[in-house]
């Protein structure tokens, strides 16, 4: 008989998810029990640091910021606000074409680059090899550590890791001092990450290990160019910034603002992505393999922080297994 689910009384995690325990005393999950909200002083400190970095960036190369732009609402808004608050920034906005980006997301990305006078780059890798890699991710088990499994599906972890590696490579080769990702406060805790060569070598090695565990043989195309971080190469002078850990994360408000600016809401049934057709399948694949909803941990964090209503998060966790995109993705991935 299936074990009855005990829900955390604060967030959306429940006891049937592997690794989650709900205290009989407090009714809270282990994350809510240990949660300490960010103090206003700390937030102010982060804001001051972001201002100091972005108001007058060191002019080292052609761009000040390499920006990861999906064309979804979070990254479109971040690009707009970044340019509004720091108008002197020279931004290279990179949209990774994983072969499953919706036409609307492509259009949104280009429109927001025009609006913000940012340079647009569509980063496309070998589409057939990418499909094979996503297929291997879907068929893999435990290629990523426990922590990563809670943060994203195996497919999304693969996609975002490729994006990170290639964006870092672009920052190193163009001498851009900053990389900006529009991760939500549920997706990361660190507003600033300073990159060092040993750290990059280490991160490259870890992702190479993940790809190897999935059976991906041609891995170099997905990794930071080894020459950029080999002994004797210049020390990186790059900081990653996550603005949503500095700004308030009020998604309904900034979605409204984006729509006012011309952002088009795509007609996707998936509640968790406004840009990628792979997402619904990736969620289902992860649930089937690990019984973990790959958005539960992020959404729970947003609820815990007060950035999302509990019922809204619960609605997002509803999986529509009849979504037509799932069949289409399975076909494209030969699964």
């Amino acid at each position: 008989m299936a074990k009855a689910a005990h829900y955390c009384k604060k967030c959306v995690l429940d006891s049937t998810t592997p690794g989650i325990s709900i205290s009989a005393d407090t009714g809270l999950c282990q994350f809510c029990e240990k949660f300490t909200p960010l103090s206003p002083e700390k937030k102010e400190e982060y804001h001051a640091r972001m201002d100091a970095l972005l108001k007058s960036p060191k002019k080292q190369g052609k761009y000040d910021v390499i920006f990861a732009l999906s064309g979804g609402v979070d990254s479109s808004y971040t690009l707009y606000r970044l340019k509004k608050e720091y108008p002197r920034l020279r931004i290279l906005a990179v949209q990774f074409d994983n072969g499953f980006i919706s036409e609307t997301a492509l259009q949104n990305a280009q429109n927001f680059c025009d609006l913000t006078k940012s340079t647009y780059l569509r980063l496309a890798l070998d589409q057939s090899a990418l499909r094979d890699t996503f297929s291997k991710a879907a068929n893999s088990r435990d290629a990523y550590p426990g922590t990563a499994k809670y943060r994203a599906s195996d497919i999304c972890n693969t996609c975002i890791s490729i994006i990170k590696q290639k964006i870092i490579e672009l920052a190193l080769t163009t001498k851009a001092p900053y990389i900006v990702f529009a991760f939500s406060p549920g997706q990361t805790d660190a507003p600033f990450v300073t990159l060092t060569k040993p750290f990059l070598v280490w991160m490259r090695k870890i992702f190479e290990g993940n790809l190897k565990a999935m059976g991906v043989t041609d891995r170099d195309a997905y990794l930071i160019d080894a020459q950029c971080i080999q002994p004797g190469s210049p020390e990186p002078e790059v900081t990653i910034i996550h603005p949503f850990l500095v700004w308030d994360y009020d998604k309904p408000a900034f979605k409204k603002e984006c729509i006012r600016l011309g952002w088009i809401d795509p007609d996707l049934k998936d509640h968790n992505s406004s840009n990628c057709l792979l997402n619904a399948f990736a969620i289902k694949n992860h649930l089937d393999k690990y019984h973990i909803h790959s958005y539960a941990y992020d959404l729970a964090a947003l609820v815990r922080q007060g950035n999302m209503k509990r019922e809204d998060a619960q609605e997002k966790l509803h999986v529509d297994v009849t979504d037509a995109s799932i069949d289409e993705v399975q076909r494209k991935l030969n699964l």
Partner: protein
């Protein structure tokens, strides 16, 4: 060295989903055994800085110092006893 080691293990159990049954040796690679990834590592650094009131310099964050329980404990003690 016992104190940071226990705190690190507690942190990994709550934040890193280190299975209760997993036995970690002091010199096991945390990244290769799948216990941490880059994001958990950053969370761990943040946790250690606030717990021990230390500043961990970025150049210290290397696999030699931060990929094993022994390395992390030693790094924390070095900075603490500064």
């Amino acid at each position: 060295m016992q104190e940071p080691r226990k705190d690190i293990l507690d942190f990994l159990k709550t934040q890193g989903f280190l299975n209760e049954k997993t036995v970690l040796q002091d010199n096991d690679s945390l990244s290769e055994t799948g216990v941490i990834d880059s994001i958990t590592l950053l969370q761990l650094i943040d946790f250690l800085e606030s717990k021990y009131k230390i500043q961990i310099p970025v150049e210290m964050i290397t696999p030699e110092n931060f990929d094993t329980l022994a390395g992390i404990s030693q790094s924390v003690m070095t900075l603490k006893n500064g």
